[in-house]
Point group: C2
Chain length 360, copies 2
Amino acid sequence: MVLRCHCPQSSVILLSIPEGASNLAERSRDPVAPVKITDVAALAGVAPMTVSRVLNTPDRVSAPTAARVRAAIEQLGYMPNLIAGGLSSRRSRMIAAVVPTIASPMFSAPVQAFTDAMGLAGYHVMLALSGYDSQDYEDAQIRAVLARRPDGLLLTGARRTPSIRKLLHDSHLPVVEIWDTSDDPTDVLVGFDHREVGAAVADFFAERGHTNFAMLYASDPRAMARREGFAARVAERGLALVAERELPAPSSIGDGRRGLIGIKDRLAPRTALFCSSDLVAHGAITEAGLHGIDVPGQLAICGFGDFEISSNGHPSFTSVRVDGEVIGRVAAEQLLERIRGTDQPGRVLVPFKIMVREST
Amino acid sequence: MVLRCHCPQSSVILLSIPEGASNLAERSRDPVAPVKITDVAALAGVAPMTVSRVLNTPDRVSAPTAARVRAAIEQLGYMPNLIAGGLSSRRSRMIAAVVPTIASPMFSAPVQAFTDAMGLAGYHVMLALSGYDSQDYEDAQIRAVLARRPDGLLLTGARRTPSIRKLLHDSHLPVVEIWDTSDDPTDVLVGFDHREVGAAVADFFAERGHTNFAMLYASDPRAMARREGFAARVAERGLALVAERELPAPSSIGDGRRGLIGIKDRLAPRTALFCSSDLVAHGAITEAGLHGIDVPGQLAICGFGDFEISSNGHPSFTSVRVDGEVIGRVAAEQLLERIRGTDQPGRVLVPFKIMVREST
DNA sequence: TTGTATGCGTTATCAA
DNA sequence: TTGATAACGCATACAA
């Protein structure tokens, strides 16, 4: 027997089946009755509520009773049903995380740290990927996860549509927004100002004597905010933005290479280029090398993200460091405090820092 | 007022609160009674069951009734409670994914593709990160997610401890294991044989006339399987493995650099190096350049993963391509078929391919 | 410290 | 096609 794969792009897939291996083929429609709390209670000779207490509030149970209950749990292999518990207690112990993608370190790092930190506190994280294409899709993802009755939400960015904002308000759910800032966040926020980042990079270049600037930026809201801050500061200083180019979001190394090709004829003899991510910067540096453009002599380059490639590649390149892991961990802390009701909503602004390396 | 952050490693965090912004501070302990199915039913003048049918099996409801119900849903902003629905129907419409990390493209790509594909089918994905440190921790993560009563599981690799294997069998849950293969998978499997990969790379090098081999490998089970396949094939051919070094898992570019330093004194004049990931390969190439070791003249290098840096960096380098997105998408397909009961368990072996570039 | 009664919001099942 | 009833498995609230 040969299994068929309905995946159009994967015509190259080889298929096979295990020979005589024992597996779950015999899955029945009538699964073994799973052990429930009443079974444990019966075996331990206590009320179901006592079993529940052993699991949730052990200090309110006497030691000998608890021991009997634990023995029964062990013997039966009891595993509490958190769906039922969640319905009853109205606390799902789940958090929904809505991020554009986890294919970029920009978001995989905070999501990883957030998931780890929430896991330690007994929460599971549901992942919803919103992409970069449409606000409607993000809104739909938020609505969809709300049907799971999460105990809290992690959202990316601080720009919400009015209907989603109203929905979140009415739900009274703790919400942490990351990777951006706003004067009027939905609830808690852990992020930084992307316009400030752009301005800081412009200042950094200007202070090193640059007068000609360029930018390669992805077409996502935050990359565009960095671009605006950069361009505005260049203009304030009366300097020249000689070239810029918008790239797809999220942008890849290849986009950076293509981007550099797109702007290279407009570069001044000594230009300072700000790239909206380290992947773009790496691509731009690679392509510059192939065209004999000297970095940093003719072209100084600053990336964003401080991914490992900026420091451990060769040549190393200057990049704006924002610690995604810290954002994820602090977001978890803040959300947990909101869930426990021990804290007021607020903004946590995380610092960014320009890591100066060989490319500038 | 200044909020304090309890995050020890993040002493550099600046804190502030929004001024006069409207947010969720007024979160009450008695949230607005959420709209439930009975409210919709009352407004539409039907039984709750009819509302449920409009949502879940619309073809079993007459058009006019369905229209009235939909109007009521719209008017009240009703959002079904999937926790309650899950308890009643015994189907949570959630899948748990247990992967070591999403910080590496090795796993973020399949998880992303899997999450997207399952989302289209109405499933949400719960993420559990198992790390690389201990089997016990992975087992604990699997047990923890089972308490959520997922409708299926995505697990990484094909090596399960006996107790987990028994637990999964007894649960009768569809399980898809990815990124490895086994003669005796738990249920469905979408992966490939890492020993074969190692052997194929050894063959590739040998056919190009190499007689001296080296390896840098991460200390995770699959990277070690690639190493075994590589070393075994080198031995079979009667050739020499002149140097190898184990690196932390997951390994970074920096690990690759340090790894190369560790083996460089033992390299033969013409050595073929297999690295367990493209990050390691990139680090090794970078470090080789700094030591004046010519790639590929003195040192030929092959990576694993075919991450973008292998093709779009400079110099480009040879790498083993395995399409993580395809693995994720096919894993979703297979799991959905198992959930629907329309397919038998089996293995899908995805192909790998050596992408030859400038480093060999 | 432990137990009892009740409800969480939905869907399976059967009857009309 | 629609409705009534009874779970689903657990935790809240109160009583003992």
